[in-house]
Amino acid sequence: MALLNPNLNLRLPLTAPSQSQQQLSWRCNVAVAPTNLGTRLGFGSPLSTCFRVRCNAAAQAVNVAVGSGTPVRSTNILVVGATGTLGRQIVRRALDEGYDVRCLVRPRPAPADFLRDWGATVVNADLSKPETIPATLVGVHTVIDCATGRPEEPIKTVDWEGKVALIQCAKAMGIQKYVFYSIHNCDKHPEVPLMEIKYCTEKFLRDSGINHITIRLCGFMQGLIGQYAVPILEEKSVWGTDAPTRIAYMDTQDIARLTFIALRNEKMNGKLLTFAGPRAWTTQEVITLCERLAGQDANVTTVPVSILRFTRQLTRFFEWTNDVADRLAFSEVLTSDTVFSVPMGETYNLLGVDSKDIVTLEKYLQDYFTNILKKLKDLKAQSKQTDIYF
């Protein structure tokens, strides 16, 4: 809604009476006319209107008296998107390092019990309902935001409107640090809606004046398990593209570890960091590696990138398949031979991390396969026993 209603003043329902006089006037000026920043949000088909968005966080309007009252302990953190692949590792890491972790989770019939089992506190709120946010931020020192909308829902509800509301709210409630995860190269691919939204959010965060760290990520190793490793073990077909794109996958556990190192380093405030794995891999290379480690060949179903692109173009013609098109938008990136990787040496130095401690993809997958194959062996041994007894 922030996008569609020009000059909308988002008013947050703040509970503290002292704050109620100060209206929040975070303005997201949305104008059809081209502007200098010119990030192009390509929602909708090419035929529909293209918005040009300028993020204009009016920082001068908000100077809530922070510092009076009970000081918030720096170990109180809120993790947004805690049930996700990265989020849960952040939560585990935080708990292990002794933080008091609160997780913002969408209300759902079966709540995220595993977070509670680990010792985190779960609070229910929905980023797409801004009125639910402020209560969750009470007593929080640092917000770690690793939320991304689910694939099946419209991309801008959570990723844009929700994030804007969250950042505004965090600012208004005096959150002392905000960690935001973005995507590497998001500034170079405005044609991909998710990346464009991330880029806009980065800018919005910067303009908001809140104490923040932005971390751009490349790809998660954990994602490769479901995509390649499991299908190979099950002798099912593996779907891959022939794209030349290389991605420097990184272990989410390493990301979590580095995040907390960065979080505690005051020099990192306001910085834009990019975390990348030790080496960039193409899809084909990953599949070959999995095959070697699993000791069996995969049934590879190679889908040419051109088909993906074609499907995207096709789906963009229809209003009701727009979300579909958005999800395929990454194929635009795939066709270029972009490398999703950055040299990490400087970051390591900055954070004081030894590059030897960062897990490589070979090591990660090898661990996975050794473990899983061992487990399979155990299961087989067990199954023989059950054959005898039953």
């Binding site: 292990d96 390092e97 019939p109 499991v230 889908v303 199954s383």
Partner: protein
């Protein structure tokens, strides 16, 4: 095929709701597009689905709506697979097909299936257009995240280890509980009252036991089923009564309850486990008394001794009612009588694999001195003597004497090496006897004694610590109460050391509430530390110590790294930065002295 089936099994129940659709999916793709796609061929063969199912420990988080929707179907499918899985008879196969086809006719089911097929194709297809999105089903996380191999913190075997955390709501305890949970341990928490506030503070799947360390009766239930104990409770005030109850008596009570529970277990598994004791002597027949000799002696070697000679006598005999009784009197001042035997252990057993003795004895409640003679067998002149005092009760009791409690008779001798022990002596002397209060009428003569011996056994040693106690270094306590606090804490430590349990005593500097793992730590023995330490680091040490053999039977101080003061830098202090890559605890502790 078999490996495929097995692979499926590994991921098991996780996939049972999607497997069906993906098989159909493969076949459908096969049908409509052979040009671009190569597909797997084993699609529609009836797959032998094993009965082995990795049951997730807790119900899979979230997604229950979906699973209830599917569960009916899943059950049906499982049932048919079971029938099929047995031996694959033709008749049964036919039955299955009939069942499946009946299902297939159902229009609702058809619709659902086709939707599933489409979803699956779409998931895979659109997955290609993603950068790093992971579409993980919620079931999968059980395998990969909670218990699986891909989890950073999970410790192998943690699922079979139950840890009792005492003081689970304390500053350290809270973090200890969380750390244990993410490592996959089963955790019990001892709390005094199960208030809502307390319950909310603990992770949901922690088993809460209500009890008080000051009340031994309530501890029985707490230690039930526990393998390890982490004690991070501390008195809430510095009132002497509180200190005594929590820091001293509490530790004593808990050690006792835990030891009782362990002994009960060992009895159940007699002779089977590596934890069973080694029988040194069992006095069950007259012949079992062979080799024991009774001796007399005095501490005064000179002529003066004769002046106080009141006479002494002792005998060791096997009575008619089947008891081996060592009895007698010592009226001579400075005199003693003793019962001694050269030990002959079963072949292949050496006492260095044991950590103490346990005696089952009865009698009239005198105290005795146990003396061990250790040295090379070939050369008796090199033998050294070590002693430990034991007290008995009226009636039967068991006395545990860890080897670590034996002190050399000559103070300069090295500590006892159990490997070299060759002679065991039980000595009675009238000195330092306390009267026993049984019936006041009967006049007790503390110079006479009666000791009924049932058995002497050696306690097996363990690799790991059983009891981690968080004590304190005394820094940061208000000076006026420091004495009392330390006294209670030290008394608690002592009762733990005497218990014979494998122990680790951590004495942190003043606690700070900040994230752990940031600064190097110093491990030291001897009360020299001067810095604070974060609660999270203490918690980390506690959790790591559970499985670290170098932490067993050690006490140490720990604090943040600091630059030693002038003149004190001679001491070797070991600093270690806690990190994922290294296990800092082992190298840090391996240089520290044992049995401290």
């Amino acid at each position: 095929m078999s490996s495929a089936a097995a692979a499926t099994t590994a991921n098991t129940a996780l996939y049972s709701n999607t497997r069906f659709s993906s098989e159909l999916l493969a076949s459908s793709i096969n049908a409509f597009s052979k040009t671009h796609f190569t597909t797997c061929s084993n699609s529609l063969r009836p797959k032998r689905n094993t009965r082995l199912i990795l049951v997730p420990r807790a119900s899979p988080p979230s997604d229950s709506a979906k699973s209830t929707e599917d569960s009916g179907k899943r059950k049906r499918k499982k049932k048919s697979d079971d029938g099929n899985g047995g031996d694959g008879e033709e008749g049964e196969d036919d039955d299955n097909r009939l069942q499946l086809s009946l299902d297939d006719v159902n229009p609702v089911g058809l619709g659902r299936k086709s939707r599933q097929i489409f979803d699956e194709v779409w998931r895979k297809f659109s997955g290609l257009g993603q950068i790093s999105r992971t579409s993980r089903t919620d079931d999968e996380e059980t395998l990969f995240i909670r218990e699986g191999p891909m989890c950073e913190f999970v410790i192998p075997g943690a699922q079979n280890t139950t840890v009792l955390v005492v003081g689970a709501t304390s500053r350290i305890g809270r973090i200890v509980v969380r750390k244990l949970m993410i490592r996959g341990y089963l955790v019990k928490a001892l709390v005094r009252k199960a208030d809502q506030e307390v319950v909310d503070m603990l992770p949901r799947s922690v088993e809460i036991v209500i009890g008080d360390v000051g009340d031994p009766a309530t501890l029985k239930a707490a230690v039930e089923g526990c393998n390890k104990i982490i004690y991070c409770a501390t008195a809430r005030s510095t009132i002497t009564g509180d200190l005594f109850r929590v820091d001293h008596l509490g530790v004593y009570n808990l050690c006792k309850a835990f030891q009782d529970y362990n002994n009960k277990l060992a009895q159940l598994r007699a002779g089977k486990s590596s934890k069973s004791k080694l029988v040194i002597t069992k006095f069950k027949s007259p012949s079992s008394l062979d080799g024991w000799e009774v001796r007399q002696g005095t501490y005064f070697q000179d002529v003066v001794a004769t002046k106080y000679d009141g006479g002494m006598d002792a005998k060791f005999e096997f009575t008619e009612n089947g008891e081996a009784v060592f009895s007698g009197y010592v009226f001579t001042r400075g005199g003693f009588v003793e019962l001694s035997k050269k030990l002959s252990l079963p072949l292949g057993s050496t006492l260095d694999r044991y950590e103490g003795l346990v005696l089952s004895v009865g009698g009239n409640g005198r105290s005795y001195v146990l003396i061990l003679e250790a040295g090379p067998l070939a050369d008796p002149s090199q033998s050294k003597l070590y002693f430990a005092r034991i007290s008995t009760k009226v009636g039967f009791c068991r006395v545990r004497v860890p080897f670590s409690s034996f002190r050399p008779v000559q103070p300069d001798d090295p500590p006892l090496d159990p490997f070299l022990i060759h002679t065991l002596t039980i000595r009675f002397e009238p000195r330092r006897q306390k009267p026993v209060e049984v019936n006041a009428e009967t006049k007790q003569d503390l110079r006479s004694f009666k000791l009924i011996l049932e058995y002497i056994k050696a306690l097996p040693t363990g690799q790991e610590t059983d009891f981690v106690l968080v004590s304190c270094s005394g820094l940061g306590i208000e000076p006026s109460r420091r004495e009392q606090v330390l006294k209670a804490k030290r008394a608690g430590e002592d009762s733990l050391r005497r218990s014979g349990l494998g122990y680790t005593i951590v004495r942190p500097g003043p606690l700070e509430e900040e994230p752990g793992g940031q600064r190097a730590l110093i491990f030291d023995q001897g009360n020299r530390i001067s810095q604070g330490i974060s609660c999270a680091d203490v918690a980390d040490i506690c959790v790591k110590a559970l499985h670290d053999s170098s932490a067993r039977n050690k006490s140490f101080d720990v604090c943040y790294e600091y630059v030693a003061e002038q003149g004190k830098e001679l001491y070797e202090l070991v600093a270690h930065l806690p990190d994922k890559a290294n296990n800092y605890l082992t190298p840090a502790l391996s240089v520290l002295e044992k049995n401290t």
